[in-house]
Amino acid sequence: MKKTYHVNEKGYYGTFGGAYIPEMLYPNVEELRQQYLEIMYEDSFQKEFKQLLKDYVGRPSPLFYAERLSAKYNTKIYLKREDLNHTGAHKVNNTIGQILMAKRLGKTRIIAETGAGQHGVATATVCALMGMECIVYMGEIDIARQAPNVARMKMLGAEVRAAKSGSRTLKDATNEAIRDWISNPVDTHYIIGSVVGPHPYPDMVARFQAVISEEIEWQLQEKEGRSYPDHVIACVGGGSNAAGAFYQYLDDERVNLIAVEAAGKGIHSGESAATSALGEDGIIHGSRTLLMQTKDGQITEPYSISAGLDYPGVGPMHAHLYESKRAEFISITDDEAMTAGLELSQLEGIIPAIETSHALAVFDTRKFKEDDIVVLNLSGRGDKDLNTYIDYFKL
């Protein structure tokens, strides 16, 4: 059998993945598992999905040759401009896909979790577009930290509910969304925002995000006369933008995959979100994967300056890419990321999201060959992070 890094028929990537869920969730998740592939590959679904990605999201997103950045690091760097999507990041690729899935499953009510608010906004956006009821769970602490995104969600007609349990951040918002789904098993679809959660979510979300690498293939073919780069770089929190950027190349070992995690104030500082380095095999949000936890198996709170990367777990696909050494994992500190974000702004006129700045910082820590073709997934724009940049650089 050909070696593959895709999910197997039981929902596992190597030993990671599966569906470790309470029986109360089984019917919902099982319904989705049985139907997601069939629904996704119906002609009518694909047609509607592609049409919305084109006319509403603004795809294809450009593949931009970053000339000045390339000159500085003496290699060929292409930026995949997910920051130009409607709502400002790659997140909307998944929410468009899942809202269409929810409609076909006959669901009328949408729930979602959000940390910094980006996935919440992307979900509220598609719910407005489709006229669906939308409830977004957000940690009480994050609600206070991310006021503009809370306002955006409200303006889009969503109800934002505070998660007041545990550490009152993203992981607790996810717990609350799961509890809501347990209590509303029939009419509700849960739009998970990353390649995490019980099978089939990691695979389904990866397939919706795969549009990123599908476009990279033909865009590179046009620009370089070949459909694959030597390296793909993407930041990883839960891992959805990386899953999308890697997807078409997972089994193509000519392509080196580079996953960038947030080291926070340093991997061993006690304030970090570098899950591959610090995590242990375990269960979080229904998935077996690597996660940050105490020796006693209690899930711990990660830290990063970037709110989109401070998830204590990582998607099971990435846990497998790490364990199997298929992907190279690099950790980048807050300081390195912020510097790289400023550099991109001034070299290319693009202010990146701080999540993406972590990926950009790789150029300063790892050398590439002069004729290497490097694609970096520019997952989001920096507007939402302006205050953090202002505080950091005293602008």
């Binding site: 569906a19 109360m24 545990g166 992981k171 717990n175 509890r179 347990i182 509303n184 375990g282 006693d296």
Partner: protein
Amino acid sequence: MNRINQKLQEDKKLLSIYFTAGYPSLNDTAGVIEDLEKSGVDMIEIGLPFSDPLADGPTIQESSTKALENGMTSELLFEQIANIRETVSIPLIIMGYLNPMMQYGIEAFCSKCKEVGIDGLIIPDMPVDVYHEQYQAIFEKYGLLNVFLITPQTSEERIRFIDSISNGFIYMVSSAGTTGAKNSFGNAQETYFDRIGNMNLKNPQIVGFGISNHETFMQATKKAKGAIIGSAFIKHLTKNGTESIKEFVDMVLDK
């Protein structure tokens, strides 16, 4: 014979109580177990606290958070109940999530359970197929019964499969929702209780979620063998402390 199976043979409706280990105070665990037995409870579920208890409502979440803040761990639980079988003879079940048990080591955890006299485990986020394929042999080696949950949404086919791989009782979740007390059950629950009661399963059923007082206990056990109370008991402990455990049990049994 496992203490759970012996208990299930008694000709009475069983009252099982859940509480969170290390709550309200870190070293209350053994005392609460002893007092529950003295008060006439038939079976006890010792909750192993977890930081992210997906299937639990606010009451049990808060007691878990508090217990963890108190310093509760798996290791400490086994220390606290190391000699529990010198004073307590009713069945004891540990209810907890899979992750802390995985970190302890599933086999080490089961071995320790046997050593201190635990009779069974309830692990809400352990998938049926994972148990069946990976853990069943280990559980059986240490004489532990595994208890699966069913809900009003569980299909008849799946209930039959769960029945076939269970050797004690089936934990019947009363309604869609997380743990937490309700004051009464509606028609939907009555229909569900009847439907399951009429399936003639080989394992008796014990109803949990939403039982809080004598009325709900009686409704739940009309067809089922027993009922489990968790959140309502935790609330009682929070409000009245560990001194008044018998009062709560008397209220439920209407003594």
